[in-house]
Amino acid sequence: MKPFTLDENAKLPSGFVVPENYFAQFELKDFHTTKPKVLRLRAAKTKWTIAAAAVLLLCTTFTVYTFYPKPATETDSQSVENYILHDADISSYELAEYLNETELNNLRLSTNASN
């Protein structure tokens, strides 16, 4: 078989042709404007998911903050009184220094009542 040599054989054209008048009618669609920015669907989806999650979180936080029963922060006077009488390491003499006679009487009465 005769060897095939590209340089010796007549040049083979590519075989590619174009539609009739393609080059004569070739027009650039619009070279002045840049391509429209294509927004990736996935990125857009992510943005909306993040936004929805943020709104949900905000609503939940607001609801919980508004309606959840708050622990009492103010100490009622009865608790203070009980603490002073039974738990605090305060002697009768020290107590007498801070209270007037009426208050001491009241205290004695309430102590008697509770005992």
């Binding site: 590209l6 083979l12 174009v18």
Partner: protein, 179 residues
């Protein structure tokens, strides 16, 4: 008008429309066939040619004129064609080479391919080459670019291009003989 003046005309808003039409008229054909030799299909070549001219227009202000305008445009066309090919292949779940093989297999049915059996075999032989050798062969054999121009476009030395073309020719000849 020399090339520098022509580039200035392309950049000047007063003259750019006329200058750009001239540029398109002058380079559409060689750029089209260069692109077509890479993407193989007419519709794809048309899209890539459009994109190439749009990019040329967009980036002309950044063109440093270290190379000729012609080779710079060829470089853009090459990159656009390769990236188009890769995107299309990816879209179809194939590699670029697999996609090319698919297009070559369907060339017979392509209305814009009028090659005979030996031309089809040549396309198949080219496809067997590594990507860079394919480019070098197509640019030299079909588009008849000078090695110096190819060197500017591909950023490869003239010597390396000559060697690459030589290897490509040998491989193609072997393929043509065996098949």
């Amino acid at each position: 008008m020399n090339e520098h003046e022509f580039i200035q005309a392309l950049l000047d808003p007063q003259t750019q429309n006329v200058a750009f039409q001239k540029l398109v008229g002058q380079y559409q054909k060689p750029l089209y066939f260069h692109i077509r030799s890479i993407v193989l299909n007419h519709d794809d070549a048309d899209d890539v040619l459009q994109n190439t001219f749009v990019k040329v227009f967009q980036y002309l202000k950044n063109f440093k004129q270290e190379s000729k305008l012609y080779t710079w445009m060829y470089r853009i066309a090459t990159n656009e064609a390769l990236s188009h090919l890769s995107q299309k292949a990816k879209k179809n779940g194939r590699t670029s080479l697999e996609h090319q093989a698919f297009v070559i297999d369907n060339l017979v049915a392509d209305v814009y391919f009028e090659g005979d059996e030996i031309q089809l075999k040549l396309q198949k032989a080219i496809h067997e080459l590594p990507e860079k050798q394919q480019l070098v062969f197509k640019m030299r054999y079909f588009n008849e670019l000078k090695y110096e121009e190819m060197s500017e476009i591909l950023g490869t030395s003239v010597g390396a291009l000559k060697a690459s073309y030589h290897h490509a020719v040998k491989k193609i000849e072997t393929y043509m003989l065996k098949n």
